[in-house]
């Protein structure tokens, strides 16, 4: 059964592991130079561009895409393809119950998916470590660019550490279970893709911020920490806690009540050095406006990684149970 599982996965596995190997070689070739440069002083982040920036972005994109690839190309066809080709009638009439058939496949391929995601994340996390450290060490508001997100921010968190292992496991099992229920490969791929994308968004927007009690802090609004004023007039300031993940913020007045910033702020000249701009911020401070921020400190990164991995692995096991039940009772 393990042999058959491996034989049927061979091509898909070669593509995924081959891609990881090629990318890992590129990272291994450029990583030491990047690490060395980060120790030599100077504006490390400002001087990082070209190939290094491309590799940094590719690493994030590859890890974000990885669970989708595994769910769609390893997971969804696993049962659906057999049903479409009619080969389930061959597979399930050998001297192995279909439950055992599925459990073996889920285990072997699930472990392979987790290993693939783990290796890719290991390579990317190692390579990006100097950049992540430099971003976390930047206490001042960050200039616009690509190398600005701390590793705890939703943009980067999914592409670091051990969480990708959990993502790969859940995406794979999701693909298999959807394929078992939908019974056709292409629709199963589309459904698995959509459901997993929604899962990832819900997790980072609605669940992860609440996994640990956030910290609160009230800060003055200054020309240096104001990052933007949105269409509705609300402000966003840079949190003066390096590497922290700001989950929410709002402006409060002198009495400490949450308010909209005064409307005249919109008529102020853009923040930056300049007398007119400074006058605006002085007035804001004089009137007692401050910014209250809610954030998760940078040192909680691994605690978040651990919690999220556990959540995804538990979901994967539960979903595998549903898939197995469905295969046994609804597909007969």
């Amino acid at each position: 059964m393990i042999w058959l599982t491996w034989r049927q996965l061979r091509t898909q596995a070669a593509v995924v592991f081959g891609g990881i190997t090629v990318f890992a070689v590129l990272l291994a070739a450029t990583g030491p130079r990047l690490a060395h440069r980060s120790h030599t002083g100077g504006d490390f982040l400002g001087e990082t561009h070209g190939v290094d920036t491309a590799l940094y972005v590719t690493g994030v994109v590859a890890l974000l895409a990885m669970p989708f690839v595994i769910g769609m190309f390893w997971g969804a066809p696993l049962v659906a393809r057999e049903l479409e080709a009619g080969t389930h009638r061959l597979a399930w009439t050998q001297t192995r119950t279909r439950t055992r058939w599925l459990v073996t496949k889920l285990t072997v391929i699930g472990v392979a998916a987790m290993v693939a995601a783990g290796l890719l994340s290991l390579a990317v996390t190692w390579w990006s470590a100097p950049i992540d450290r430099a971003i976390a060490a930047t206490g001042k508001p960050v200039a616009p660019g690509l190398l600005v997100f701390p590793r705890l921010s939703p943009e980067i968190f999914d592409a670091r550490g051990i969480a990708p292992v959990g993502y790969a496991a859940l995406a794979f099992v999701l693909g298999v279970t959807v394929g078992t229920i939908v019974r056709r490969t292409l629709p199963a791929m589309a459904v698995a893709l959509t459901v997993f994308a929604v899962t990832q968004v819900v997790m980072s927007v609605a669940v992860r911020p609440h996994l640990m009690t956030p910290e609160h802090r009230t800060m003055p609004i200054t020309a240096t920490n104001l990052m933007r004023i949105d269409m509705g007039g609300d402000l966003t300031v840079a949190i003066d806690r390096p590497g922290a993940w700001g989950t929410a913020q709002h402006t409060v007045n002198a009495a400490g009540q949450a308010v909209h910033p005064p409307s005249w702020l919109a008529d102020c000249p853009p923040p930056g050095p300049g007398q007119a701009s400074q006058a605006c911020f002085d007035r804001l401070t004089r009137l007692g406006y401050r910014q209250q921020v809610t954030y998760q400190p940078a040192d909680r990164f691994w605690a978040f990684q651990r919690d999220e991995t556990v959540i995804y692995l538990v979901l994967a096991v539960l979903l595998a149970g549903l898939g197995t039940w469905w295969l046994r009772h609804r597909l007969s």
Partner: protein, 291 residues
């Protein structure tokens, strides 16, 4: 009669459609049984239930004394060649044999190898490149080399050309001849069944219309031809299965253990095809003939 397949009030519903309903039948062990019926009679559903691919919605089915696909021991007893003889198109012939060997403790590697060699299948050939006939032969090899007690074939030759069809059936009867093996072979063509089967079950709309030893069935059915017979005048131990009238004469297909010699009619033996067709088109309640 020991039964290799025993169904009691067996039914299977897909969503709202009953593919098989209230089917009761016994298939004797040690025979090569032809399961014949029109398309939609429930043959595939019945055989899928027997192979354990489906579970009954109602009633029970017992195969080789156990519930189909209940566990490895039960699965080992049944070899199944599914309709259209599915194989993995991207795997080679040799890899299919390896699959069989890995998944079946009772696997007979020599039997499998010899068959493949004799059939002229190249081991390194992907099954997606095989002809329909070759694929059917490979599927049969997988089912036989597992050394089952019961071999179930669901219309294995339905999509084959006449030559491949004849070769497959010839090979099937050779392969099963010298073995303690029960075979159930479904087809909607009587000629397929006539070639290899010694026991016949006619299934129409989930019901067994007639079942019995082929020779015995042929011996007990007769064609009577006469100029206008009055059905009421016929002996009472004689059952009319079908009647055909022309202007000048009447032809009856009848079942009777003994037939009195009567100059009023001429008696001819009946062919299996006519017999099956008569039972298929008959609208009277199911009749079963046992020996």
């Amino acid at each position: 009669m020991t039964a290799v397949v025993r169904a009691q009030g067996l039914g299977k519903r897909f969503r709202r459609r009953w593919a098989l309903s209230d089917c009761t039948l016994d298939i004797p062990a040690g025979r090569t049984v032809g399961l014949v019926g029109p398309n939609g009679a429930g043959k595939t559903t019945l055989l899928s239930l027997a192979a354990g691919l489906l579970t009954p919605t109602s009633g029970t089915i017992e195969v080789c004394g156990g519930r189909p696909a209940e566990g490895p021991a039960q699965l080992a007893k049944v070899g199944f060649v599914a309709q259209d003889t599915p194989t993995y198109a991207r795997l080679t012939v040799a890899e299919h044999l390896k699959l069989g060997a890995r998944l079946n403790p009772g696997w007979d590697p020599r039997l499998a190898r010899d068959r493949i060699q004799r059939l002229g299948l190249r081991p390194d050939q992907r099954t997606g490149d095989l002809s329909g006939g070759q694929r059917a032969q490979l599927a049969l090899t997988l089912a036989i080399a597992k050394r089952p007690a019961l071999l179930i074939l669901d219309e294995p030759v339905a999509s084959l050309d006449p030559l491949a069809r004849r070769e497959f059936l010839q090979d099937l009867s050779d392969a099963t001849a010298d073995r303690e093996l029960s075979v159930v072979h479904s087809s909607h063509l009587v000629s397929d069944v006539e070639r290899i089967c010694d026991y016949l079950v006619v299934l129409v709309a989930s019901r067994v219309r007639v079942a019995g030893d082929v020779n015995e069935l042929l011996a007990r059915h007769h064609l009577l031809t006469a100029t206008r017979i009055d059905p009421a005048a016929l002996p009472t131990d004689l059952h009319v299965i079908s009647a055909r009238h022309t202007d000048s004469e009447t032809t009856l297909l009848v079942r009777a253990d003994t037939l009195a010699d009567d100059p009023a009619w001429t008696v001819r033996p009946v062919g299996l095809e006519d017999l099956v067709l008569a039972y298929m088109s008959q609208s009277v309640p199911a009749l079963e003939v046992h020996r």
